[in-house]
Structure formats: structure tokens, C-alpha cells
Subunit: 577 residues, 2 copies
């Protein structure tokens, strides 16, 4: 028995799974609906827009195919399409506002690229290209009539994580039992973004229960990393990460309760911001966590450059004013924060969180980034984050402290098969044990003490940000991601965190465990499981995304510093054309 199996089985024994996986009921009552859903997705893609795959997809997966490189080298788009889709969103709006581009041109280019992204990565759950075109045409008509753009997101093709309510369309959150759920109106944020000009045409993949840092579900299955199709795209905003990295949307939106924006951004090779809570409305997003306050889920942007993250947040908050539609959201406009000079930055760097050792490519990326930051004049402080074990245990207990009541209902209602990582997440913390309200409050008290401890550390030591791995590895093999400690820490702290690309990609010739590494004594079964999963030859070309974290509600400062770090110091440009 591998350590993976051992640890997995020990978790599983906590839970009897009564009522789950009723194959007869599922096959008879639900599978036909699921098949219809899949067929609708297949039918929605015009053959004329599909790219010729060099080999059948399964073969490409097995050979760790780099679909990003291929898209450029095989010229799967026209020059104009490449030019449009490799332009930052804020510049596209500028060009549309001057009449240099039409919304339809922009839309067609991104829609084409989205189809190719989906062919390789399986990032979409639903396309609706005719509606997208119609929205783009409406933007153009408005511009022709008024000479003005609709709003700051005018004509920007925008991808949506599936679990956000979409008027008139199935919204299932990865649960088969939710397939009959057809909202009568958009969720608040979906509505606001559209009113600001966004164009919708794709809803993206997410895992069953939304509680994997991966993508598997009984609807459309796994999403893959664009840079290495063998690997996971991360999750739970799996499709968002992949479509963003691939350039199949100008901007996107995901959600994050334990790393679900950051893991896909890091693994697939793009940028994502886990905002502080209560900045982006989540009214109208389906999950098992309604009313859960201990570790709230947050919504946040995906984009391919920091400037676009800034633009997304500024447009949404300052012109969308979500606090006028949602009593939960803070009336906190997006502050304009100047890009700091490197010499004015003090950054604490976490190389190991005390729980799970990072793999060689992560270690190398942190080293290289830190050296570049130092060379640019940034002050670096080594930082061993305190109480990470307590934080991680508390987080895991919090997730399931209702005994998974709602997840269980959602899953058992259809009897759908439980995919591998669902079994894993249902056993987080104390699994099926229902906590008392008093026990839940204890978790809140621990959480608040941790927040205060970390806040005071940063304030008292005059540290602006924390730089850390997003995960102990690059994108893992699909359904092989068990440890959430690096991302989850900032969920329990509610510290806003930007994932950006380091510019480092896994290199099997370099990123090998050393002799020293192999003598390492594991601190836990979880660490052993995670570290043993890293085999240098199986992660070729995987990108390394890192986390930049700041204090609660200092989202603006993080984004401003992100520009300094990504654009000025690391000079990582994801617009390849």
C-alpha cells in the first residue's frame, strides 16, 4: 500500500457514505440529463472554428503536450486574432472606445481562441456563442449611436466560473442533483459586470462539490494545464485558470475558499486575485456553504497581467458599486495606489510552511525571484510563518463543521458517483462529525487570534507583503492534489493574495531532488504523499506561480506592488504574440 492509499483510507474510515453513489437511480434518472448537457456543449462548438489536433487528445495528454506552444507555432489563429487576444483588456477597451476595434471583432477572436483552449484543456462547461455575438453587436450598436462605450468593460469577452447564477441557464456547482436549477436572474456580480459592458459566451469547469484544488466532476470531467496536458489545471476555478492562461477570455471571474482562484492561476500559468472578503458580491453563487462565515468564500478576477487585475477591480467596485445591491459587501471603493519603487518594498519570504516541503522547481523559482527582487533593491526578510499546523487544522475543521450536511444532500439527491477528491474533501477535519455551535465558535476564536498574530507581525516588523509558494509543487497530476496548506493559510487569515507567474517553468534536467533531499525525514504522511508525487520527468514545462500576500483589505497595495514585481523586476509578459 502506498502512503497515498494509506492516508486516503484512514480518512475514508471516518465516513460511512450512506446514501451516496446509488448507481441505479443515477443511471436511470440523472444520467440522461447529464448526457444531454454534455451533448449541448459538444453541439455548441462550430466545426469551422475547431483547430486540427496533431494527435488524438489522449495521446497528447500522455506525452505531456504543451498546447500553448503549439497554438503559436502551428498558427491556430489568424494574425489579427492573435493580435487582439494578446492585448491587455484595458487596452482593448481603449481601442474600442476610439473606434479602432469593434466589440464583434474582439469577441470573434476570443471566442475562437476559447474553442481551441477547450479542445486542448477541456475548460468549458457551456458555450453560448450566438448570445455572445449578440451582446457584442449590442455594444457596437451603442457605440455607433452614442459614440460612447457602455462602461469600462465594454465589449470584453468574459469567462464565468459555472457556479454563479446565470439567468435562464443551468447552474449546478458541479452537483448533478442541481441540473434542474435554472436561475431567474443573474447573480449580482454577473449582472454588474455585464452592465459594465462584459460579453458572456462561456461558463467554465469546476469540480464536484467545488472543494478540490482540481477539476473532476460527473458533467464534463477534468480540465488540463495548457502547458502540459498531463497535469491538472488546478481548481476549483479550474476552467477559469485554463481559459485565462490560454487567452480564451479577456478577463474572468472565479471563487476561492481554500485556494480555488490561486491554484488554477498558478498551475495553468496566469494571474488571479483572492480578494479580501466582502469586496465582491457572491449573491447568486451556488455552493454547499450558504451562511458559512468562519472561512468565507470570496470571488475574484483572473487576468493575464497585473494592470488588468487592477482594471477589473477598479471598474467593478468604483463603477459597479456592488454594496448598493448586496448588504454583505463593504462600501469600499478601489483606491488608486501608486506603483511602489522596489527600494520601498519589504517582503517576507516563506520557503517552507512547516508542513509540506516544496518540490525542486518551486524552490528554484522562489530562489530566482528573491534574487531578482534583491538585485532590484527590495528588502527581503526570511519568514517562517507561525502556527501553520493550527491554522491548517482549524481550516479543515471549519470546512466540514456542519458534518458536510449540505454537500451530502446535494450528492445523495442524485446518487452520482463520488469522484476521487470528493472523498478526500468530505473527510477534511472531522469529516462527518457535526460540530456544536460552541465548537464552531471556538474555531472562530482561534481564527481571529491567528489573524491578529499575523497582522501584528507585519505591522510591528514593517513588512509590506509575504511572498510564498502557491502549493508545494507545480501543477500536479490530475486528481493528485491533497495539500491546501499554502493557499489555505490566507483563507483563514483572510489576507488578500495575488498569484502571479514567476517566469520559471519546470525543467526536468534541473529540478530534481538532491542527495540531501532524499535523506529528508518527512514530518507527516501528508508531506510524504505530496513529495513522493513529484517525479521530475512527469512535470515538464509546468509554470510556477507564486503568492504575494498583504494585510486584510490592502488588496490595492498588493496589486500595485504586483506591477512593480511582475512587470518591472521579473518582466514576465504573458501576451506572447
Amino acid at each position: 500500500m502506498s502512503s497515498q492509499e494509506a492516508i486516503f483510507n484512514s480518512f475514508l474510515t471516518k465516513e460511512t457514505f450512506e446514501g451516496f453513489e446509488d448507481n441505479e437511480r443515477y443511471t436511470k434518472e440523472w444520467l440522461p440529463k447529464v448526457e444531454k448537457y454534455r451533448q449541448a456543449l459538444a453541439d455548441s462548438i462550430p466545426d469551422s472554428c475547431k483547430a486540427p489536433l496533431p494527435k488524438p487528445i489522449d495521446e497528447l495528454i500522455n506525452e505531456q503536450f504543451n498546447a500553448m506552444d503549439y497554438m503559436y507555432s502551428a498558427k491556430l489563429l489568424t494574425d489579427d486574432e492573435f493580435k487582439i487576444t494578446d492585448t491587455p483588456a484595458y487596452k482593448l477597451v481603449e481601442q474600442m472606445s476610439k473606434g479602432e476595434l469593434t466589440a464583434v471583432e474582439v469577441y470573434r477572436a476570443f471566442a475562437h481562441r476559447a474553442i481551441i483552449a477547450h479542445q486542448f484543456t477541456n475548460c468549458a462547461m457551456e458555450f453560448f456563442f450566438h448570445e455572445g455575438l449578440q451582446q457584442a453587436e449590442e455594444r457596437d450598436a451603442y457605440f455607433r449611436e452614442t459614440g460612447k462605450i457602455v462602461g469600462p468593460l465594454h465589449g470584453l469577452p468574459f469567462s464565468l466560473k459555472e457556479h454563479m447564477d446565470y439567468k435562464g441557464k443551468i447552474t449546478h456547482a458541479g452537483y448533478v442533483s442541481m441540473i434542474d436549477n435554472i436561475p431567474e436572474e443573474h447573480g449580482v456580480t454577473v449582472d454588474i459586470l455585464q452592465k459594465l459592458g462584459a460579453v458572456y459566451y462561456v461558463r467554465t469547469n469546476e469540480p464536484q462539490t467545488l472543494m478540490h484544488l482540481d477539476s473532476n466532476n460527473n458533467y464534463t470531467g477534468l480540465t488540463k494545464c495548457p502547458f502540459n496536458l498531463l497535469l491538472s489545471a488546478g481548481g476549483s476555478s479550474s476552467g477559469e485558470g485554463a481559459i485565462s492562461a490560454f487567452g480564451g477570455a479577456a478577463l474572468g471571474i472565479g471563487s476561492d475558499i481554500g485556494g480555488s482562484i490561486r491554484s488554477p492561476a498558478a498551475f495553468s500559468g496566469t494571474l488571479g486575485l483572492r480578494t479580501s472578503t466582502r469586496r465582491v458580491s457572491d449573491i447568486g453563487s451556488v455552493s454547499a456553504f450558504g451562511g458559512f462565515e468562519t472561512v468565507p468564500c470570496v470571488m475574484g478576477p483572473f487576468a493575464r497581467c497585473v494592470e488588468d487585475i487592477d482594471y477589473w477591480m477598479k471598474s467593478y467596485l468604483n463603477e459597479g458599486k456592488p454594496w448598493e445591491r448586496d448588504g454583505w459587501v463593504l462600501p469600499m471603493p478601489w483606491r488608486q495606489v501608486a506603483k511602489p519603487a522596489p527600494k520601498d518594498l519589504t517582503i517576507a519570504v516563506t520557503r517552507d510552511d512547516g508542513l509540506v516541503r516544496v518540490s525542486p522547481p518551486i524552490r528554484r523559482a522562489i530562489n530566482e525571484v528573491v534574487e531578482k527582487l534583491k538585485a532590484a533593491g527590495v528588502k527581503i526578510v526570511e519568514f517562517q510563518p507561525p502556527n501553520t499546523k493550527l491554522a491548517y487544522e482549524t481550516l479543515n475543521k471549519a470546512y466540514n463543521c456542519d458534518g458536510n450536511l449540505i454537500s451530502k444532500e446535494f450528492l445523495s439527491a442524485s446518487g452520482e458517483p463520488l469522484v476521487k477528491l470528493t472523498k478526500w474533501n468530505l473527510n477534511f477535519g472531522d469529516g462527518a462529525k457535526q460540530y456544536t455551535i460552541g465548537e464552531n465558535r471556538q474555531l472562530n476564536i482561534i481564527r481571529d487570534k491567528l489573524r491578529t498574530e499575523y497582522t501584528r507581525y507585519l505591522v510591528d516588523n514593517k513588512i509590506d507583503f509575504i511572498l510564498s509558494p502557491t502549493y508545494n509543487n507545480v501543477a500536479p497530476h490530475s486528481e493528485e492534489i491533497y495539500n491546501w496548506s499554502y493557499t489555505g493559510l490566507y483563507n483563514i487569515l483572510d489576507f488578500p493574495t495575488l498569484v502571479f507567474q514567476s517566469g520559471v517553468f519546470q525543467d526536468p534536467n534541473v529540478d530534481r531532488w538532491t542527495e540531501e533531499d532524499l535523506k529528508y525525514e518527512y514530518r507527516s504522511d501528508l508531506e510524504k504523499l505530496e513529495n513522493e508525487n513529484y517525479k521530475p520527468d512527469e512535470f515538464i514545462g509546468a509554470p510556477v506561480g507564486l503568492q504575494l500576500t498583504g494585510r486584510r483589505y490592502f488588496d490595492e497595495e498588493i496589486v500595485a506592488a504586483g506591477k512593480t514585481i511582475v512587470d518591472d523586476i521579473l518582466k514576465v509578459d504573458l501576451f506572447k504574440h
Copy 2:
């Protein structure tokens, strides 16, 4: 059986109170400590500073004595003391900053007035005059040495609700079992205010469990309304309301989870602000609600003019930066908001919340205030608040959804007698029933829908504020306050609310039920109980305080509008000298 007894008994049957009220244990183990505590309070007051009471206190209570009038007419302070203690706090600091007053002069005047306040109203739980004097001397020494004031609260005598941790002093929150709790450091806010210059010398009364809108406890008993000693001072920041109204402190701080700042401000005749959550740190306040997030307790200021409320908040937030010491507090500085012109204000007025009809003096005060607002050019909209029954039921369920677990532990640990309103509050909602976490989340979901409903109402109708009664009556007789619906609505909504004085006082010749009133059909037993308790001749001279409420985190706008309303339109000045 009166309707009061009936309704009370029906609540009581929900709960068996096992383990409560162990008289033998209490008398033997705990009462001696309580007696020592009481003696320390009595011993702390120098005879030389005491005012001569015109009659024994029990007689004064029975004859509805107006201690405020008496203090002035009998000249219980010197002219200089009156002058100092009837000056707004922000002006005192200005005078101290110019060397026109010393901190010791200011301190001595307020300390003297605090003693008189306590003699009449029983507002204090603890005095420590020597320490207060020492702090004042330190402020003066600092000023002599540097020519500067310590901070914006330099030398301001500041009263503290007892349940906030005070270094080295018993902090019990009204529970006898906490009498051995001696914190090693100040609570975060107590610490910040002191560092900004505040001088501490008094900690003020609060009820057992903190969950009465009244004051009774087994330590020092009831606090009384300064304007009519027969009546309640409100609660749970009972002593804060009384000492502030009496002028025994320049500024004060209380806490509010259901009306606990607003009821004492209204009943005793002063001003208080229920801030939005997460603006004032509550690290280091003792209560049974640690980790409770459904309806969080907030801390907030007491003062005798709106300008001082503004000054308190601005000083605390902008110079104290509580978010650097407490990860729960929002980094949201106090915005400077200009005082609005009356014609720019739209105010929705609630005359009845659909649950409990208001008594004649409240009705008259609302009418008079509304007429004055209209005459000044304010646009008035009548407002019947929606879903108040659902809101009130949800609030009451939320308070006790842990089955009162912590309160029960705190109470049964000493076996102390349960005072009357403790029995009432322990039976709120479903009393001793422990909710599941899923049920608690349902309450959160209802709460968030209510917040959104009210937010959208205000936004969509362009309404700036809501004006409403603080309670369905003026200050009730002690231990006769059952209905929290008028204040509690804004706790579940988390809408910031300023209580200000209308300038109206109960007049038994005017404020009588009409013939029409007497034909009224009660909507509930609670309403009958509350309305029957209003007998015009028993509430003579009680002040009417009203609520001005705004959207979440629009605290600054409320305070700015408060200046327009209180100072410019109503011209209510609480500095009598």
C-alpha cells in the same frame, strides 16, 4: 395573572435551569468576594466629595426625583467645575493644548461630578481616583515638558463599561463567577484610547449576562435614569448612559449587540453611536458571545454632543489605527463628511415597527421632530419597515442558538441568583435549544437577505437615513423592559445608528393614551405587556431619545447629519451650564 406574568411564565417553561441558583454554594464561596467588591467601591469614594442628598435615596426613587435638575439648582459643583464639565470634550482638549486648562483641573471636576452621578444613579462598579489623578498629572507633565498634548484625547476623563479588560483589575461582565478574572493587559481599545490621552478612573455598571436593556446584577444592582430616579437607565451599557448624561465623564465607551449603547443613551438622556461592525476593536471584552458572528457585538462612543461623537471616532480610528492591533477590525479610517444642508436630506420615518406600538411621549416626540425637520426643508418619507417580525425572531434565535451554553456555564459556576431579566433573555428565541450549525447558517442567510432588502430600499428610493423610536417607550421602570425590536432591527441589519436627544421629555399632562388608543387591538402579548406598562403618571420628565440610522459603514454620514439635526434644527444642547 397579569399579561406580564403570563408571557413570562410561558417563556420560563422552556428552560429547566438545572444547575442555576445554588444558594448555599453562592453564599459560602462567592458572596464574600462580592461583598468585598462592593465594599471596595464604597471605600473608594471620599466623603469630602459626596453631595448631601436631599432625602434618603429610596425616597428619591419613589418620588421620581429629577437628579439632573437638582444638581444644577442645588449647585452641587463649583462654578468652575460646572464650566469644565459642561464643555464639549473636543473643546476641553483645545483648551488644554493651549495651556488654558490642566488635565488635573479637568479630571478633578469630572471626578467630582461622577461621584454625584453615582450617588444618585448608581452608575459605577469601580472607581480608582488615585490612578486617575496620576494619569492626569502625567498628561500635564508631558505638556509642561514638550508643549504638546499626548494625543487627541489628552486629559479627557473617560468612562469604561466594565466588561472591557482592564489591566490588573477584576473584569467580570456582570457574572459573579468571573470575579477572579484579572486581565494582564488592557483590551485593545482601552489601550488605544489611553495612549491617545484618555484618563481612566471609573468603570460602569452593566447587567448580569450583559443581555438586558437594563442594569441589574448581583454586584452593585440597578442603575437609574438621572432625570427620574424611579426609571431605568437602560442597558446593557447602563452606567455609561447614566454617567454620560449626568456629565460625570467627558467621553465614554459601551457595547451594543441588541441596543446596549442606544437604550441607555436614549433613556438616560445622552448620545451614543452604535457603529458598524469591525470598526472598533473588541479584543479583550468579556461576554458569552466569543466567536459569535451572526449578530456581532459592536463597541461605540457615548458623548453629550454630536461633535464629540465625531471627535471620538476620528481620534480613535485615524490616530489609533485599531486595525494594526486587531485582525478583525477593518482598516477604514474615519472620513471627513461635511455637515449636510437640511434640504439635501431625505429621511424615512418609522412611527411603528409593526410589532409594538409606541407610547404617547414617543409618538409626540417623533411628531415634533418630524415637523421641525420638515420646516427646515428636510424631505420626509413615511416608512413601514418590512419583515420586522422575521428580523426580530431571527435575532432572538441567533442570540441563544448555542443553547446559552456559555451563559449557563458562567452563571452556574457561581450558583448566583438569576435576576429577573436574565430569565427573560435566557429564553429568547428557542431558549435552551442548541441549534445545529446548519440551522445557524439558515439564520445567517435570512439576515443577509434582510440586509440586502433594506440596503436596496434605501438606495433605490434615494433615502439617506431612517428616523425611528429607540424603544416603544421612554425609560421604563427598572426590570420592565421586554421588547428589543426597535433597536434590534439595526443589529441584525448591522446598520450604524446614532441615538440623539429629541428635546422632548415626558409630560404626564400631555402624554396620555387617547380614547382611540384605548380601543386598540393588541397584535401580540408582548405588545400588550409593553403598552400596559405605560402609565402616564409614572414616567415624569423622562427624556425621549431617537434613532438616526444609515447604511452599513455610513457611520460618518450619520454623524454629520446628526449635527444638522441636533445642533441646527432641533437645537438640543445638553451642556446646561
